[in-house]
């Protein structure tokens, strides 16, 4: 067995997995803080500055972490929401009278359009910020970090399995839908038919999820999950005083910026 002698008591590299790159090697908590700060600024600071600054930061961090191309699908996924925001606000903004033109009963306004674009920018920058976080932080790393800081093993497991439960439930729902369609369930017919088709799909998914709970609980117990005392952490996640300082500073600044903007003490475009 190659390397068995040397790795007898050493952690293999593929477990140690130290991430490389300036952005990625930040501690997960730092990345989470950055995302939270970006969210606060995007929605808290009035005007164009807030969302634009956030967008710039997001794109910069995406570039550093080399995920620029991978966040494009997330931006595209936001298109329907963006379109509806634009339409609703441009055409139906209350108390706006600076019309762009008249198309029959519809009167789009510049105020409305402006508001629409700003709202779009907020949503998109927040979404991309979340996307960058998700793409650069393996879930397990985040959970390990949180657990080290006191989240507790049950807490981290709950979060972890909740996150993992989503694709699993979707997968199961698809299997159930397949089985029922093979029995003639019409997933394309009239509304009444489709409503009638909810129980045959939801029922087995729920039943399956419930019965799985007991099995999973036993499987966890069989692995000593409820043993007392702290869990051994195999992977060391790097953190530094500088990062810790930056986290508090960032959070403080972003909250302050939002507060200032909301109270109108200082206005920015």
């Amino acid at each position: 067995m190659p390397g068995a002698e040397t790795s007898a008591l050493e952690l293999p590299d593929y477990v140690r997995r130290l991430p490389s790159g300036l952005y990625r090697s930040l501690s997960p908590l730092t990345k989470l803080t950055i995302a939270a700060a970006e969210a606060v600024v995007a929605f808290g600071v009035r005007g164009w500055t807030g969302p634009l600054v956030v967008l710039a930061c997001v794109l910069a961090s995406a570039a550093v972490a080399s995920v620029l191309r991978r966040i494009v699908p997330f931006a595209l996924a936001a298109l329907p929401l963006v379109a509806s925001i634009l339409l609703v606000n441009t055409f139906l903004y209350p108390n706006a009278h600076d019309e762009i033109g008249r198309f029959g009963p519809l009167a789009p306004t510049w105020t409305g359009a402006t508001a629409a674009l700003q709202a779009t920018l907020r949503v998109v920058s927040f979404g991309l910020s979340a996307a960058v976080f998700a793409l650069t932080t393996p879930t397990n790393d985040l959970l390990v970090d949180l657990e080290r800081r006191g989240l507790g093993r049950r807490g981290s497991y709950v979060v972890g399995s909740a996150l993992e439960a989503v694709p699993r439930t979707v997968g199961r729902a698809r299997e159930v839908a397949e089985a029922q369609r093979a029995r003639g369930l019409d997933t394309q017919g009239s509304i009444r038919r489709r409503i009638g088709g909810i129980l045959p799909v939801v029922g087995p998914v729920v039943f399956g999820a419930l019965s799985e709970v007991e099995q999973r609980t036993m499987a966890l117990e069989a692995r000593g999950f409820t043993a007392p005392g702290p869990r051994t952490q195999l992977r060391a996640l790097p953190d530094s005083r500088l990062q810790k300082l930056s986290r508090w500073t960032l959070l403080g600044l972003s909250l302050a910026a939002a507060a200032i903007s909301v109270t109108g003490a200082v206005t920015v475009p």
């Binding site: 089985a179 093979a182 003639g184 019409d186 997933t187 017919g189 087995p204 039943f207």
Partner: protein
């Protein structure tokens, strides 16, 4: 009942995650044939049968029923001609009573009243669950829930019946019920197709066996041929073992004996010492 002819014409299928599950499969299944499809997990067995009721559409090639391409036909419509019972019964059970669960399929096909009740009753009897019509499906054990799932598809009266791993996890009573279902359906003239890991079930209940590997059909023929000595290299390359009777029959030079019955029959007239074949072949199945 005359079942439709099934044709796969150069069917290939690639899943969204790039796995190529089927590779140019071309086969024809005549009306009323009983076919067992065997192979390791990942060989494409389930993928192939899901093309028959439209759950999957070929990436290349065509699937034809009675010469007509079914690419544009709805799954819900194909369900009236092709019944598919899945391996995991808990995927589909949702009603509070066995009778309600059984009625779901036939009702979707437009059956009502006496016709519906008749089909349901006949199917329950075919699997031996007639006494459980008013029970709650989850009060039945796993074996009987599996039989219920099969019965619920049987009740739809489709000319083509497909069973996905019907004997896995079944005790001997359950297996006997499944065999009875296959025999009964075949007697009615239905085409019966089963995907299975169970070589004995395949050899004893089906007239034709398709062995699949890596998305292709590597062996195709009656059990005597597919489990006969000439096919063993191919079988073993698929990590499948021929049934023990076939191995014994070959060792003793008795020809192709894929089933226990055929081995016994081959031995019966030849009560003289059979010629022992002295090569080092050892049966590897437990």
């Amino acid at each position: 009942m005359t079942a439709p002819t099934i044709e796969f014409d150069g069917v290939s299928f690639t899943y969204p995650d790039e796995t190529r599950a089927l590779d140019g499969v071309t086969r024809r299944i005549e009306p009323g044939q009983t076919v067992a499809i065997v192979g390791q997990n990942g060989s494409g067995k389930s993928t192939l049968v899901k093309h028959l009721n439209g759950l999957l559409r070929p990436s290349e090639g065509r699937v034809l029923l009675d010469g007509a391409d079914i690419a544009e036909v709805h799954v819900a419509k194909l369900a009236g001609r092709v019944g598919l019972a899945f391996q995991d019964p808990d995927r589909q059970l949702f009603a509070g009573r066995v009778s309600a669960e059984m009625a779901f399929g036939p009702r979707n096909l437009g059956m009502r009243g006496a016709e519906l009740a008749g089909h349901v009753r006949a199917a329950l009897e075919a699997v031996g669950l007639a006494a459980e019509a008013e029970s709650h499906p989850y009060d039945l054990g796993y074996s009987r829930r599996k039989l219920l799932a099969i019965a619920s598809v049987l009740a739809m009266g489709t000319p083509i019946l497909i069973l996905d791993e019907p004997t896995t996890g079944q005790d001997s009573r359950g297996v006997a019920a499944v065999r009875a279902v296959v025999a009964g359906a075949a007697a009615e003239g239905r085409t019966v197709i089963a995907v299975s890991h169970d070589m004995r079930f395949a050899a004893e209940c089906f007239s034709r066996i398709l062995v699949m590997r890596d998305g292709r059909v590597v062996l195709d023929g009656p059990p005597e041929v597919v489990f006969g000595e000439a096919s063993w290299p191919e079988l073993r390359a698929t990590y499948l073992e021929p049934p023990l009777p076939a191995v014994v029959g070959a060792r003793l030079g008795l020809g192709d004996t894929p089933t226990e019955a055929s081995l016994v029959a081959a031995l019966a007239p030849a009560r003289v010492a059979p010629r022992a074949v002295t090569d080092a072949r050892t049966p590897r199945n437990g």
